[in-house]
């Protein structure tokens, strides 16, 4: 087994362990911290796949901003007294999980030959190539996403104004 594979298995098992730690503890802050750790390990996985830009953006946006907002809201609301788990949701969630597992198992039988893939170019995953594809090939989805964000911002401002 090569060094890359060992690194992959360490990182993959760490992210699986921490993602399990997101759903099992009863303490919401522990779950949020475990989710942040999961996102961080997935970012390191991106780093091993020659995508440093994506890795840093993952840390910056998900671990650094979105998770902080999650923690912020958890601390403001302090949901110390959680209601017990309802049976209906519990079974529905389990069914969805089993369906997802079956789908993932089918992936084991699908093996693209890794030798057929060309090695990545030197500039792959760098800021220049990312910006090139974002502003030429994917300009329309990029603009649509920004309009979506703008709508969300305006909605948030409108909601906050109504209270005052």
């Amino acid at each position: 087994m090569s060094g890359d594979m060992i690194l992959f298995f360490i990182l993959a098992s760490l992210s699986v362990i921490f993602s399990l730690l997101v759903i099992f503890p009863r303490n919401v802050v522990h779950s949020a911290m475990a989710l942040a750790a999961t996102l961080f390990f997935v970012a390191v996985l991106f780093l091993t796949l020659d995508a440093p830009m994506l890795a840093i953006l993952q840390v910056l946006v998900y671990a650094g901003a979105i998770m902080i907002l999650f923690l912020f809201v958890i601390m403001l609301l302090n949901p110390a007294a959680l209601e017990g788990r309802r049976i209906a949701w519990w079974t529905l969630g389990s069914l969805a999980a089993v369906a997802l597992l079956l789908e993932l198992v089918s992936l084991f039988f699908y093996r693209p030959s890794p030798s057929g893939q060309p090695p990545v170019a030197a500039a792959f995953g760098g800021p220049e190539t990312l910006a090139q594809s974002l502003f030429t090939d994917f300009a329309l989805p990029f603009e649509i996403a920004s309009v979506l964000l703008l709508v969300a911002i305006i909605g948030a401002v409108a909601l906050a104004k109504r209270e005052g």
Partner: protein
């Protein structure tokens, strides 16, 4: 192979050694400096054989011993695991950020070229913002795990403040990135060696003065020091997010804050004040604009560059400490108004103006 690894290890050691020691020294400068500003004597209680060394013995010897031998208190109703993890989360980003800041140009030893920077990433600035965004965890988690209302309030304040000022900080740097056209800090530092009109160094401060003011303000806000020390706010929140911390863990928060000052000073130097550039110093010595040259050996040039970087960093560390003891604290609504309603629009306008200026420069091919 072994030598390459050794060089990398040496650079990592050198940077960590300098940052941590400077953080300790800043503790001394802060205590004696504040005493000087407030017209009192300051730390002078401890001495070795009658030698107090202007408070050096007190702050660099007695204080750490006291911190490390004190009781490490964990609130009984708090969260043991997260309470212990939080100081580590606060210290970690402050120490790893310096890895991408170049402290000199290339040092040539025989055949080998040593880049005087721990890690040369092509996304250096993004790395810094990624790590800086993680520094919020330390205070938020520490505040929550203490199970104390004052510290929780401090943590909530800190999270809101740091996220708000990160946005202004990021937008102010976009102007610099556009002006130099790269995210690599070493290339930004190199580009600042050019001259405008043959005499003015092309430092970021001259290209982007507005960005410098915004970045400096946001950097001070990110280190959570006066006038932005609302998360601590000792007059209303006792000590804010670190109320329940004592001993070694408090020391980690304390050192983390000073390490953040050093990192902020390093960033300001690299982005706006030429990094390791000394005006008119080229690779082979000084070339003055009024004619004349002073040729120097390679080693002397490298020493001068690293020395220039160190002096600039020390200056901005001193400036941040001076600010803390000169300005009163903001009110929380003033803080939010400054961040969102003043700095954010100005940063956006700066980005637009920079873009227009770059297009005009390309069209008319004028310098700068």
């Amino acid at each position: 192979m072994i030598i390459d690894l050794g060089i990398i290890a040496a650079k990592v050691f050198l940077v960590l050694f300098m940052v941590l020691n400077l953080a300790g020294l800043l503790g001394w400068i802060e205590r004696k400096g504040s005493a000087l500003i407030q017209d009192r004597i300051g730390a002078n209680r401890a001495s070795v054989l009658g030698f107090a060394g202007l408070g050096l013995v007190n702050t660099l010897l007695a204080d750490p011993i006291k911190f490390l031998t004190k009781e490490d208190f964990i609130p009984p109703q708090g969260d043991r695991l997260l309470h212990t993890l939080a100081p580590c989360l606060a210290l970690f980003p402050a120490l790893v950020t310096f890895a991408v800041i170049p402290f000199g140009d290339v040092l040539v030893v025989g055949e080998r070229q040593i880049n005087l920077q721990v890690a040369n990433l092509n996304i250096g600035i993004l790395y810094i913002f990624g790590m800086a965004s993680l520094s919020v965890y330390g205070i938020v988690v520490g505040a929550w795990a203490s199970n104390n209302k004052f510290s929780l309030l401090g943590g909530v304040r800190g999270a809101a403040q740091m996220i708000s000022y990160e946005i202004a900080m990021g937008l102010s740097v976009i102007g610099v990135i556009m002006a130099y056209g790269t995210l690599e800090l070493q290339q930004i530092a190199r580009a600042q060696g050019e001259l405008f009109w043959g005499w003015l160094p092309a430092w970021g401060f001259f290209l982007q003065p507005v960005a410098f003011l915004l970045f400096f303000t946001a950097a001070v806000a990110e280190t959570k020091r006066t006038p932005f020390d609302l998360p601590e706010g000792e007059s209303e929140l006792v000590a804010g997010y670190h109320v329940e911390y004592s001993g070694g863990k408090f020391l980690m928060f304390f050192v983390g804050e000073f390490a953040e000052i050093v990192t902020a000073a390093g960033l300001i130097t690299t982005l706006f004040f030429g990094g390791w550039q000394l005006p008119y110093l080229m690779r082979d010595g000084f070339h003055f604009p009024w004619g004349g040259a002073l040729l120097l050996p390679h080693l002397a040039v490298v020493v001068l560059q690293v020395g220039a970087f160190t002096i600039k960093v020390l200056f901005f560390c001193w400036l941040q400490i001076l600010l803390r003891w000169s300005l009163p604290r903001f009110r929380y609504d003033q803080l939010m108004r400054l961040g969102w309603k003043m700095m954010l629009p100005v940063a956006l306008v700066n980005v637009v103006v920079t873009a227009v200026w770059i297009v005009l420069r390309q069209q008319l091919s004028v310098k700068p």
